[in-house]
């Protein structure tokens, strides 16, 4: 709805306000009965509010024009041509939604702003919800969104399907992936009331896949998200502690989601347009489809990480590859590779992984676990690392696992 109104009135900020107002109006108006077509009702109320607002703005603009014509000479006129009231046609709605998502992830906005706008405007979360999800003061988030809306309006950022669509979709997928990752990492933390960013990311990725069925990477990302989501219930135990992939109760994994992810991934790969999300989905698929931890094909996973490193060079990918090598060829082979990596000295999972591999090789690991514990803010991870520090006898060692794009311990 926001996408439709923004498109029609070319004013994202005013459209957003109008939708919020319409929702508030609905709260009281619908007490006496919900209308037959609630979406159309809301659309009409929001649209009328916008038209009112434009008429008021036009009136003051005319006044200004009379006073200072040079200031308003090239002011664009708002388009007020009549349209049918009910334009809830699914095909046009989807197209507008994609335009709105692409606008939220416009490269002339910085990354944090893209994430905030995507959740706030395309995802429809409130400022308070987005702020809570990122542990930011609500005022900070609101200010970021206000600034972005102002830039969109005043800098002439268009709500159109861009000529360089592939590039722009790449930026959009990156934002959805970041939102998903944030949700995944916060899972073990104490914030049970946080909005579920994982579900939100999946919902938005589905919209992109629906709109761009030929984008192999969009569908690859959806498969990746579904694989991880399928395992999420088993990642944390009853006491809120992280459970390592190796020790997770596989009967608790969501088979329907794994099945859908398998189908999505197969479909993505028929386009013969490989990319990093598809490769990560294949890796996640190896884990999700292994009946037991011992069934995991770690050699294949190590090879996939090496492909991924070529597509998108990143030390964290190399870290994951070292883990896979350790699982396939033993901890010493993994440690050899770890010791060649640079740029990860401040990354807690580098030290957590090193600790695990040292422990498995029967070598002292406490210093690595302690360094990792100092570097993370996540309470569940901190407790897990403290536990590992005290129990680093080689017999009780557990294995590092994987998350999207980063090595992790759960």
């Amino acid at each position: 709805m926001l996408a439709l109104l923004t498109r029609r009135f070319r004013n994202l900020d005013a459209a957003d306000d109008a939708v919020q107002e319409a929702l508030i109006t609905a709260l009281s108006a619908w007490k006496s009965g919900i209308p037959k077509n609630p979406a159309a009702w809301l659309y009409t109320v929001a649209r009328n509010a916008l038209i009112d607002q434009i008429r008021r703005a036009e009136a003051s603009r005319r006044q200004l024009h009379a006073a200072a014509p040079e200031l308003t000479a090239h002011h664009t006129n708002h388009n007020e041509e009549e349209e049918p009231d009910l334009i809830m046609d699914a095909s046009s709605l989807g197209d507008e939604r994609l335009r709105l998502l692409l606008l939220c992830c416009h490269p002339a906005l910085d990354r944090d702003t893209q994430v905030a706008l995507t959740l706030r405007l395309a995802g429809g979360l409130t400022a308070a919800e987005v702020a809570a999800a990122y542990l930011l003061p609500e005022a900070t988030l609101t200010q970021r969104v206000v600034r972005a809306k102002r830039k969109i309006r005043e800098a002439g950022m268009p709500l159109s399907i861009p000529a360089n669509l592939n590039e722009r979709v790449g930026a959009l997928l990156r934002v959805l992936y970041l939102i998903f990752n944030e949700g995944y990492l916060s899972r073990g933390a104490e914030h049970v009331t946080r909005v579920d960013l994982i579900t939100e990311a999946i919902r938005l990725t589905r919209q992109v896949v629906d709109e761009l069925p030929s984008s192999a990477e969009a569908e690859g990302l959806l498969a990746l998200e579904l694989y991880h989501h399928a395992r999420s219930a088993s990642r944390v135990d009853g006491a809120g502690e992280l459970v390592l992939l190796e020790r997770q109760d596989r009967s608790g994994w969501n088979l329907a989601e794994i099945t859908e992810a398998n189908a999505r991934l197969r479909n993505a790969m028929t386009h013969m347009a490989p990319g990093p999300y598809q490769v990560q989905a294949i890796i996640a698929g190896h884990h999700a489809n292994a009946r037991t931890a011992a069934d995991t094909d770690w050699s294949a996973i190590a090879e996939l990480y090496s492909q991924l490193a070529q597509m998108a060079p990143n030390p964290v990918v190399d870290l994951n590859r070292a883990v896979a090598i350790a699982m396939a060829d033993g901890p010493l082979a993994g440690l050899t590779m770890l010791d060649r990596l640079t740029g990860l000295n401040d990354y807690h999972l580098f030290h957590a992984t090193r600790g695990e591999l040292l422990a498995r090789a029967g070598r002292p690991a406490a210093a690595s676990f302690e360094r990792a514990r100092q570097l993370t803010n996540n309470d569940a991870e901190r407790r897990h690392l403290a536990r590992r520090m005290t129990e680093t006898s080689p017999a009780s060692a557990a294995s590092p696992g994987e998350t999207p794009g980063r090595a992790t311990i759960a």
Partner: protein, 120 residues
């Protein structure tokens, strides 16, 4: 010769907006100045830019796609060396056109013109 005068001022104390007290006096002084340039045969073009919140910077390096940065140009090693005033449909088109400038390394700040007295 033609010269460019670059105006730097503090955005945190904006001039009066249209309709606010003092606006007419404020505008009047600029118009008088412009008129004096026109009458003296000095006038070429002038424009005031939208505030820096609207700025987008394109970082150019040889052989690479331009990097788009949200915000104004903030590097002090490079010096202001020229300008284009272009007409474009949208920021996207302006970025595309700026990306084609036949330059090697450097940065291009893109901002909408808020007001230009000699615009038709």
């Amino acid at each position: 010769m033609e010269f460019m005068i670059l105006i730097h001022s503090d955005e945190s104390t904006p001039p009066p907006a249209p309709g606010e007290p003092g606006f007419d006096e404020f505008m009047g002084e600029w118009m008088t100045y412009n008129q004096s340039l026109i009458e003296g045969g000095h006038w070429v073009s002038a424009a005031s830019l939208a505030p820096t919140i609207t700025a987008t910077t394109l970082r150019r390096s040889p052989g690479q796609a331009p990097e788009i940065v949200d915000g104004p140009f903030a590097e002090t090693k490079e010096q202001f060396g020229g300008y284009y005033l272009i007409s474009a449909e949208s920021l996207d088109e302006a970025i595309e056109l700026a990306g084609k400038l036949p330059m090697g390394s450097g940065s291009l700040e893109i901002r909408p013109v808020a007001f230009r007295p000699d615009a038709e």
